[in-house]
């Protein structure tokens, strides 16, 4: 069964460093998302991406965050200058048409120290 894959599974980074989290969505999907989950808290929406542009972003997704689809398969989330409060599990997700099932990857644990 096709799946969303994410790398790295876990990354530890120093505060202020840049981090890039990578995702390969399911190949025929058109909608892409990043969500995050701080330990013990709700899953929070960060950004949705469709037709090579951001379709919606949350308040969390400030100027420190950016997304890119550099080629036909990868979808990346960049955090420019990490803060301690960015420590969370980051989930990439994709959906074929935005109306049905949204499939998630295994997540990337980010620990900012």
């Amino acid at each position: 069964e096709p799946e969303v894959t994410q790398t790295p599974s876990h990354q530890v980074t120093q505060m202020g460093q840049e981090v890039i989290l990578r995702c390969v969505p399911i190949s025929n999907h058109l909608y892409f998302y990043w969500y995050r989950q701080i330990l013990g808290q709700k899953v929070e929406f960060l950004v949705s991406f469709y037709n090579n542009e951001i379709s919606e972003k949350s308040e969390i997704f400030d100027d420190q965050f950016s997304v890119e689809r550099p080629d036909g398969s990868n979808f990346t989330l960049k955090i420019r200058s990490t803060k301690l409060e960015d420590s969370a599990m980051y989930f990439c997700a994709s959906s074929r048409d935005g109306r049905g099932t949204i499939y998630f990857g295994e997540g990337s644990w980010l620990t900012v120290v």
């Binding site: 909608y31 899953v43 929070e44 949705s48 919606e56 099932t101």
Partner: protein, 114 residues
């Protein structure tokens, strides 16, 4: 306002028993999706129910949706220790423009004891 509030927050049962988790939401929806998350792992999609459906089955899972009460329930029958996980409902509301994001609750933490 919060969407997708599950209850109970925690549930502990014996293997073989049924587990019922409930979810309430506030806005209109196009569909509601249930996910499972094993500790520290990814979100696994279980079942999607559309706003015009009332009940859906998948293996040992049964989901109901009552749009008049803005609530859904997930029933796991004949539970197994491997069902131990957190269960989340998430809703999609297309009425909010082009918005297709999922809005999540805090989840129900299910422990199935052998």
């Amino acid at each position: 306002s919060q969407q997708g509030e599950e209850d109970p927050q925690a549930l502990s049962i014996q293997e073989g028993e049924n587990a019922t988790m409930n979810c309430s939401y506030k806005t209109s929806i196009n569909n509601l999706q249930w996910y499972r998350q094993n500790s520290g792992r990814g979100l696994v999609h279980l079942i999607l129910i559309r706003s015009n459906e009332r009940e859906k089955h998948s293996g040992r899972l049964r989901v109901t949706l009552d749009t008049s009460k803005k609530s859904s329930s997930l029933l796991i029958t004949a539970s197994r220790a491997a069902d131990t996980a957190s269960y989340f409902c998430a809703t999609v509301d297309y009425n909010a423009g082009n918005n297709r994001k999922l809005i999540w609750g805090l989840g129900t933490s299910l422990a199935v004891n052998p």
